[in-house]
């Protein structure tokens, strides 16, 4: 079987796994829905009828959007991870590396602390907006600083180190805000920093759906150029890639998809890091395969994590970020020990 064909059948397999996980994620939770009820409720929801039972409303207004949002956020994190690892030519990079998630988390913390004082209009929208702005501000800061530091042309190493510094700055900002926050706000900051999908609704699905699908389509146009970048910046330039344009496109896509996803769900770590790793071990590093695969596998893994988060402490739930870290850290460490990569 040719490599392309092997890649395609692997993608089909991953897609089947994603659908199965999505069904499980809709079925299990604080209450379980039998399959026939899931089907009739989905049909009812699709035809626009408002369900008349409490269970029906839980299904269409909580469970279903949560499952879809989870798929979208997982896909965003997977694609963001593949993009950042490709751009930094380094397999141990996370989508948050250029400051996006810590900035978004800081924006959210700022909202929790100041929101009650300043009375922002429109509850969850203000949180989303504040987190999104935080992500964009921190990422812009990383770029502006990396640019001025290296004589106009921002080198990858400069970006990486500046990202570390700016991340540290925003994390200490979050620390300060939680320190001065009163109790319910401090708890909100903590919970949000651990990641949660409990705020999912259909408007979140629409916004995240737009950025995830749009961002992934744009990213796919740069897949070949990202492949060329694997052998070096000047080498990619010699192969006909406009490296400056590539960097800007990839970073913009990453900021948009990661900041928006983080704005709705909080900080969810390790998904963006391990998803591209697993796929490279299964099939290789070609970004034309890796970007699509990372979207599908990211969606699958985050849905699995969400099922675990909801089922393990029923009727309460764990923050999903705890689940992804507990599962992600050992997986990551075992990947490192295989020494397949040159660092």
């Amino acid at each position: 079987m040719s490599r392309d064909a092997a890649g395609r059948s692997l993608l089909v397999g991953l897609a089947v796994a994603m659908v199965a996980t999505a069904v499980a994620s809709i079925r299990f939770g604080a209450i379980d829905f039998p399959l026939h009820e899931m089907w009739s409720s989905t049909v009812a929801a699709a035809s626009g009828r408002v369900p008349d039972t409490l269970d029906g409303r839980i299904f269409t207004e909580l469970r279903l959007p949560r499952a879809v949002l989870c798929l979208l956020v997982g896909a965003s994190l997977g694609v963001g991870g593949a993009l950042m690892q490709g751009l930094f030519r380094n397999p141990i990079v996370e989508p948050g590396l250029v400051g996006t998630s810590s900035g978004a988390a800081f924006g959210a913390a700022l909202y929790f602390v100041l929101g009650t004082v300043l009375h922002f209009p429109a509850g969850t929208w203000a949180l989303t907006l504040s987190a999104c702005l935080g992500g964009i501000v921190s990422t812009t800061m990383v770029f502006a600083l990396a640019q001025t530091g290296s004589g106009g042309r921002s080198s990858i190493v400069m970006l990486l180190l500046t990202g570390l510094a700016v991340n540290a700055l925003f994390l200490s900002g979050i620390g300060f805000l939680s320190y001065i926050a009163r109790d319910p706000q401090a708890r909100s900051i903590v919970f949000w920093n651990l990641g949660t999908l409990s705020g999912a609704n259909w408007s979140a699905v629409r916004v995240v759906g737009l950025t995830t699908i749009g961002g992934t389509l744009v990213a796919l146009r740069y897949a070949k150029a990202l492949n060329a970048l694997m052998i070096g910046e000047e080498e990619a330039e010699a192969l006909g890639v406009n490296v400056t344009r590539l960097k800007w496109a990839v970073l913009s896509v990453n900021v948009v998809i990661v900041a928006v996803a983080t704005a709705y769900t909080g900080v969810i770590s390790f998904v963006g890091l391990i998803v591209p790793h697993i796929l490279r071990m299964m099939r290789g590093a070609d970004n034309r395969f890796l970007l699509v695969g990372s979207a599908v596998l990211g969606a699958t893994l985050l849905s699995l994590a969400d099922v675990v988060a909801r089922v393990s402490l029923r009727p309460a739930e764990l923050p999903i970020g705890i689940v992804t870290s507990v599962v992600g850290v050992p997986v990551f460490l075992s990947l490192l020990r295989r020494r397949q990569y040159v660092f």
Partner: protein
Amino acid sequence: MVAAHHLTYRAGGRALVDDVSATFEPGRLHLIVGPNGAGKSTFVRLLARLIRPHEGQVTYDGADVRGAAERVLARRRAVLSQAVEIAFPLTVREVVMMGRYPHFGGRAAPVDEDICDAVMAYFDVTDLGNRSYPTLSGGEKQRVNFARVLAQVWRPAGAGARILFLDEPLTFLDISHQLDFMRKVTSFTAAPDVVAIGVVHDLGLAARFADHILMIDEGRLVASGPAASVLTRDHIRAVFDVDPIFLPDPQGRGTHLVYE
């Protein structure tokens, strides 16, 4: 033909390349020699338009390359750089196929696959096709990159010349592979539309294989021409600070260079 017109490139307040003009005709192998830090690599990167000069211009077949689109340029100009390290598990064939990237859109066409087969056979890396690039030895990596770079300019590029840049291509190669590589470059350069421009350290190899040698020191062109007129005792003493001894070949094939 490739031409440099009064090229100057500065970094850190110093001119790395200082007002250099030169022409490079097709069908010939042009080798650049000079001590460490002389500006050889910078000069080659300027000619390949990987960096832009502060003054002067580079032309390919008379046309200024300044505004040329990256991809259009890449269909006729390939660059072999010093050491290519990849942190990801790409296969050798995937790396070689990158040489065809400027020539196809989404997926490789049959002609790209054929060219890949041909260059891999030419550089004796066909058996490594499914190996993961990071697991190769230094010499194997270098041969894979030769194959990739030649895949880029394997077929004539329409009207203009095909241009091959080689920045210290012999690093990591043992003596037999060095000679083998120089012979392959020479035979590739025999095509009437190929301009090959390289940087080498070994003056003996340069004397043996080059049609045209340029000697560079402190960013300036010291001498340019056939080996006999460039690699003279005076030039070598002035630029490299060593005393050369020219020994006649016992079989009458030119002379050998040794140093005191």
